[in-house]
Symmetry: C2
Subunit: 223 residues, 2 copies
């Protein structure tokens, strides 16, 4: 009876951990969408609010880290639960760094909003949308142990990489044709690379999920 | 007696874990130095060998991860040891990503070696040297629980950030004055940013070490 009680309580603690990670993910998804919206709308106030959100995300990382350590120390989980908790420790670090990338985007947006727009932004919002979905799906894959969804995230990474290459090429053309565009083009290039790095974090999470579920490492098997 | 035996063996397992992490760090330091040397020497064969080393580093990450999980499952460590092992899990991820950055540098070097050199490289090797020392010191701080050394790493990060800004400015001047330099300048800019990211990984490790030792989170206290 006592044992069952402990076990039921452990399950609810794990459920709470899952929920916290999804909540942190939700916040980070808002940061991705908001930082790129602040670019399209030339809205520096929104950019400021994204930068402010980073502190909340940082706080969530610390809190989830501590919760994981507590569970490891007091519950001494084995096998599947152990893998889940240690993976949670790694995932929150990725989420926190996605928040950092969004902050970097928002800072560049504030600078870009001081100058005339270089061009209408079409590909960058598209790229942001992909990365946002990738982060969401990577976390869903984590909490549900859904390998198929994790594999989809890894595949989607190629789309974001291709968009990044396309954006870089287009900006290069601007720079070569008109050197007065160079500083703005470099900032947009930087934003595009931040989004690409966010997609990389989502892919890292997805690869770790596949490892967690299958016990097989696909992280480093590509030639 | 039995208990002492277990404890002595646990200590030696922890010592082995420390040693593996330092070995992985040593390999990554070689990758940093080698990737930038391949730039200065215009040595694409060296660049290829750096790219090949990435697989070894990836393998070390997987092996150390597994070792940490084993220690958590079989030894059920508490307090300080628990913090050490969970931190090891996070640190190897940073080391692995430093390896990825070196691979990116080496790939850009191969491309740059196909074209005439843009300028003599002085600041990039200097930056690489700083980042290499930072990685080494962050890992030393980790295995010895040395807070002062970890703080030094965090301070040194500013030097690398400043060098990165300086390099970016110089490259911008090249691009504006002569648009035929743009593609090469963008690649050098990319290399400089890779080095800056390596320094960020070292700083992340150092901040986590301070947290491990002091039980206090300095990671996110800056305004």
């Amino acid at each position: 009876m006592e044992r069952e009680h402990i076990s039921a309580s452990f399950d609810s603690e794990l459920a709470a951990l899952r929920k916290s990670i999804l909540a942190m993910g939700g916040k980070v998804e808002l940061m991705i969408a908001g930082s790129v919206k602040s670019l399209g709308d030339r809205d520096s106030v929104l950019a400021d609010s994204i930068i402010a959100m980073d502190r909340e995300v940082n706080g969530l990382e610390v809190a989830i880290d501590e919760k994981c350590l507590q569970l490891l120390a007091l519950r001494q989980p084995a096998a599947r639960d152990l893998r889940f908790i240690t993976l949670a420790l790694k995932i929150v670090t990725d989420l926190e760094r996605i928040g950092d990338q969004c902050t970097s985007v928002a800072k560049r947006v504030r600078e870009l909003n001081e100058e005339p727009p270089l061009k209408p932004y079409i590909d960058i919002p598209r790229m942001a949308h992909w990365t946002e979905v990738m982060v969401k799906e990577a976390l869903d894959a984590f909490v549900h142990g859904d390998v198929d969804l994790a594999i989809k995230v890894c595949t989607d990474d190629q789309v974001v990489d291709d968009l990044n290459v396309q954006i870089q090429r287009e900006l290069l053309t601007f720079m070569i044709e008109d050197p007065t565009t160079i500083t703005r083009a470099i900032k947009l290039n930087y934003i595009s690379k931040c989004l690409e790095r966010i997609a990389d974090h989502a892919t890292n999470i997805a690869e770790m999920v596949i490892f967690m579920v299958k016990g097989k490492d696909i992280r480093h098997t590509s030639p």
